[in-house]
């Protein structure tokens, strides 16, 4: 399918992206750059990928017209049910795609980073299915916070490698996974979990996640007669679910794309992950993008109640979409997101991931007409967040 999102030969989207990696990583990145487009374009790859997405992951996920939300917000509200995927979120789309790619590159071992554990679980799942060794890098602090997902990954046969450097969270798990990749460029493939990292990762992950908007188009056409909605709303951490939901609507002349960042305790509270609101251009994990940093260029540890949005940068494609006004980036606080999570649970019978609740919460801030068709990407389910959902409400009372 034609897309307006191809990076240039050095992996740049406008001024963003690229591959700012030390020479030790150059061969690893080059091997991927040289081969990824050709491999994923083969019929053999596409057939296997699509079959697994259908029969194993459970795609297409439903596009659900929510009568309750539509009445509440006086518009036509649809939920794209990525929460119904196997393993509970959109992350599995990318994990399956990359493991299939790794096999075709004759890799024997997979490494990945994870924050909340969703990408780790998805990667461990794909490795179990397709028979590759799997090591997941996870911050020591996150291992404590996300015990159920750590146990899931172990059950799936993955080895958990605690990241003990720096702030001992997602960004450090990413650093350590990249360092481990340096040590074994020949046998190991690194599966990055979001549209971040050096070229070609942003493009690779965006392509694997683009199935989300591909399905929305078909489903919306069936339901409304028009494949293009007025709005697509998605939460934005690194940005993989958002790019998946936006991909086929970019530059269509109709659809407004809204990416919702985690405002944490408030954009100016010092406890936030709202990169666009605060960020300056710089380099993180091998790509040029907006990131939260000090004046001296040190990366600042972000805050969000949702571990999946707790990342100090955003994917370079999102920086590009923002700067070129092809998408709008907004933010929602912890409180607003939690309220949206409780509301959807009570009113709709769906417990959303706290990440996805950020997108839902933004409905309150939109000026909608009754005829407006709005698709909210419900990127994941809230099972992993039960403790947070419970503790937060107890604190409130």
């Amino acid at each position: 399918m034609k897309t307006t999102l191809q990076p240039d030969e050095n992996g740049f989207y406008g001024e963003f992206g690229g591959a700012f990696v030390p020479e030790m990583l150059y061969p690893n990145v080059l091997e991927l750059q040289k081969n990824y487009l050709q491999i994923i374009a083969t019929e053999d790859f596409q057939n296997e990928f699509k079959l697994l997405l259908k029969d194993y992951v459970g795609r297409p996920t439903p596009l659900y017209f929510s009568k309750n939300l539509s009445e509440q917000f006086q518009a036509q509200i649809y939920l794209k049910r990525e929460d119904l995927n196997h393993t509970g979120a959109h992350k599995i789309n990318n994990a399956i795609g990359q493991v299939l790619l790794a096999k075709r590159l004759n890799k024997k071992r997979i490494i990945a980073e994870t924050g909340a554990g969703q990408h780790g679980v998805a990667t461990a799942t794909a490795c179990a299915l397709l028979g590759l060794d799997c090591t997941i890098y996870m911050g020591e602090i996150d291992i404590e916070r996300q015990k159920p997902n750590v146990e899931r990954m172990r059950l799936l046969g993955a080895k958990i490698q605690p990241a003990t450097s720096g702030s001992k969270t997602l960004k450090d798990a990413t650093n350590e996974a990249i360092r481990a990749w340096i040590n074994d460029p020949v046998g190991t493939h690194y599966i990055i979990g979001s549209v971040v990292g050096p070229h070609p990762y942003p493009d690779l992950v965006a392509q694997f996640q683009s199935v989300i908007s591909e399905e929305i188009k078909i489903q919306l056409k069936e339901k409304t007669g028009d494949e293009n909605p007025d709005y697509v709303v998605a939460c934005l951490g690194g940005g993989s679910n958002a790019i998946g939901a936006f991909y086929h609507f970019i530059d269509n002349g109709k659809t407004q794309l809204i990416a919702v960042e985690a405002g944490g305790l408030g954009v100016h509270s010092g406890k936030t992950a709202a990169t666009i609101a605060l960020g300056k251009k710089g380099i993180i994990h091998g790509s040029k993008t907006y990131l939260i940093q000090t004046d001296d260029g040190q990366i600042v540890e972000p805050h969000s109640i949702s571990a999946g949005l707790d990342y100090p940068g955003i994917g370079p494609i999102h920086s590009y979409l923002h700067d070129t006004k092809k998408a709008e980036v907004v933010s929602i606080t912890d409180d607003e997101a939690m309220q949206a999570a409780y509301d959807l649970s009570r009113n709709e019978g769906i417990i959303p991931a706290i990440e996805s609740a950020h997108a839902l919460a933004y409905l309150h801030k939109m000026k909608l007409k009754t005829t407006d068709v709005v698709v909210v990407n419900l990127s994941g389910r809230g099972d992993k967040d039960l403790a947070t959902l419970q503790n937060y409400r107890n604190d409130e009372q």
């Binding site: 700012f20 030790m24 150059y26 360092r179 091998g286 004046d295 260029g297 040190q298």
Partner: protein, 257 residues
């Protein structure tokens, strides 16, 4: 280009010792003290690391020293302030080493101009891609007589080595194994690779680094190049023994005597 790095390699062809330390570590104002004592020692060249929160090419020792330096308040601005008296302290070649994000926030032109102004001879920015150097830094470096030192690894292809050699100035930094700084596992097993590079007759001399940590590993790699770079082992030594003249000369003597 003619600076102190070039002069060093013209006059000395073997057993060159270059030591790396992180600015602002162990204490914020140790930079000049360390430089002074290194100047009094038998070290040939000095690399000063400006800290970054997420140093991808570095192992735990340099990451921790960088983290501590940031916590102590080290910034690139402050480092340049400290280095105003650099050339009254030492005439040895000085290289600044750090990551591109910190340089971008400081300003690309401002960074190179400041290097030249305080008397820094060269830079190593491990995560700066070659195309980015060519488009954004090459001219600045040449105008200001600042050498840009590029890295090669055991996995770097012959064609790329030649390319990197043609754009490196001063010397080539031969990374000993496919690894991060401070890993000491494979350094002596890479002789095939060292020989291969020796036989390529590059236009730049080369130093070998990553994992060199004592007299034995220093002497081993010196057989295959003009000398070696030691970072993590020196930082560990400073952390354990302090920055006194006695401590620093003891470390240098352990390697060189």
């Amino acid at each position: 280009m003619n600076n102190r790095i070039q002069s060093l390699f013209e006059t000395k062809k073997e057993n060159i010792l270059s030591l790396y330390f992180t600015a602002g570590f162990p204490n914020l104002n140790d930079t000049l003290t360390i430089l002074k004592h290194l100047d009094e020692s038998d070290v040939d060249m000095i690399e000063i690391g400006f800290p970054y929160s997420d140093p991808l090419a570095d192992g735990p020792v340099i990451q921790e020293s960088s983290g501590q330096a940031i916590e102590n308040g080290m910034t690139l601005n402050l480092l340049f302030e400290q280095l105003q008296s650099l050339r009254s302290i030492t005439q040895k070649p000085i290289i600044l080493m750090g990551y591109l994000n910190v340089v971008l926030q400081f300003g690309e032109a401002a960074f190179i101009e400041k290097c030249a102004q305080v008397g820094v001879d060269g830079i190593i920015i491990p995560d700066m891609p070659l195309h980015y150097y060519l488009s954004n830094f090459k001219e600045l470096c040449e105008v200001n007589q600042v050498s840009n030192v590029l890295l090669i690894t055991p996995e770097t292809s012959e064609e790329r080595i030649k390319q990197l050699d043609s754009y490196s100035s001063g010397f080539i930094y031969l990374v000993s194994s496919n690894s991060i700084t401070g890993s000491t596992n494979a350094i002596t097993f890479q002789t095939e690779y060292y020989k291969r590079i020796q036989n390529m007759k590059l236009q730049n001399p080369h130093l070998i680094g990553f994992g060199v940590h004592n007299k034995k590993t220093f002497e081993t790699v010196c057989e295959f190049g003009s000398g070696a770079i030691i970072g993590s082992a020196f930082i560990t030594h400073l952390n354990e023994n302090g920055v006194s003249k006695e401590s620093i000369s003891r470390f240098v003597n352990l390697i060189k005597l």
